[in-house]
């Protein structure tokens, strides 16, 4: 059996939908991610409204570190979209530079997160401490897993996957756009997670 049947609309858009396949695919996937984090946020709302008391996040978590992480992720989103724009302009070297910066930002985020977790454990704040802490660990850990996923995908596109630029540049640009969409979504989730967990007043 031949390995090379060509699936249409991987590089060019299908005329009536105006989309290439991966664009539709990634938005469908992001829709499911909206449901995933939406369920967690809904659970937060529920558990908090049903609780007698609720912690003031800023007293337990480090707002400075959380703020830095937020800025790091925003920066990584900017560099990600710059890397895509570079490909659109045909500049492979700049694409690689900006994607590399995105990866560095992601690693910084994870390092800070690890530092935060370690500090929590050392002070005896565990998922078993309270529902709030359980939500903090669960939501940020799930988010962190998504960051790791993004690092793997972006790392592949920066490394071995970038060979496709030579054989099918349009399709490769599409792949970077799609990876970018995923990465921006990861940033988007954090934009909501940060105030919810770190900044909201307690009760």
């Amino acid at each position: 059996m031949s390995a090379a049947i060509e699936i249409p609309y991987n590089s060019v858009e299908r005329p009536d939908t105006g989309l290439y396949n991966a664009k539709l695919g990634i938005w469908l996937f992001l829709a499911s991610e909206v449901m995933l984090f939406g369920a967690l946020f809904s659970s937060y709302v529920l558990l908090r409204t049903g609780a007698e008391t609720w912690e003031h996040g800023a007293e337990i978590l480090s707002v400075p570190l959380g703020t830095i992480n937020t800025l790091v992720l925003i920066a990584s989103s900017v560099t990600m979209v710059f890397s895509y724009a570079s490909l659109q302009a045909g500049n492979f070297a700049r694409f690689r530079m900006f994607l590399g910066m995105t990866l560095v930002c992601a690693v910084i985020f994870m390092v800070i997160k690890g530092f935060e977790y370690k500090a929590k454990f050392e002070h005896g704040f565990l998922p078993s401490t309270s529902t709030y802490m359980a939500l903090y660990f669960t939501m940020t850990a799930l988010h962190a897993l998504h960051v790791i996923g993004g690092v793997i995908v972006n790392g592949y596109l920066w490394g071995p996957g970038s060979k496709m630029w030579l054989t099918d540049p349009q399709r490769f640009t599409n792949r970077v756009e799609v990876a970018g969409l995923y990465w921006h979504f990861v940033d988007l989730v954090w934009i909501f997670l940060f105030p919810t967990l770190y900044l909201l007043p307690g009760k």
Partner: protein, 132 residues
């Protein structure tokens, strides 16, 4: 995306830079706002509004949603409706409860007590001991 002219790409890049700056400013504002004692409800609303604005910018410009195709809008509209259903009906179910347990639509009596982890054993197993 189909081939873009260099000018179009440059224009996009300027937009990205602006949006990035706005996001940074928004982050600073939301942290500062949290330090002002606005009360629980106002505090939550302010934080949510700022987050929604920031999120919309990321979605609209970085994710190109403001210039996306109709099919994507339809998928996202459906998703938004389903999330609203989940969150809304969930809260509604909890709010509207029978019997002695108060729902969240009725204000519980507020006991000011420190948050203990180990609750005292319940006095005489009540209905709580039925087999699920």
């Amino acid at each position: 995306m189909s081939a873009h002219t260099p000018e179009a790409v440059q224009k996009q890049v300027r937009i990205y830079r602006t949006v990035g700056a706005v996001l940074i400013v928004g982050t600073v504002i939301t942290v500062l706002a949290a330090n002002v004692h606005l009360g629980i409800i106002v505090g939550i609303i302010v934080a949510l509004i700022i987050a929604t604005v920031k999120g919309s910018l990321v979605a609209g410009y970085f994710m190109h949603l403001f210039s996306e195709k109709k099919l994507i809008y339809m998928v996202l509209a459906l998703t938004a409706a389903v999330v609203v259903v989940l969150a809304g009906l969930l809260v509604f179910s909890y709010g509207d409860q029978q019997g002695h347990r108060h729902g969240i639509f009725q204000m519980p009596e507020r006991h000011v007590q420190p948050h203990h982890e180990t609750a005292a054993p319940a006095p005489a197993p009540e209905k709580g001991s039925h087999v699920p």
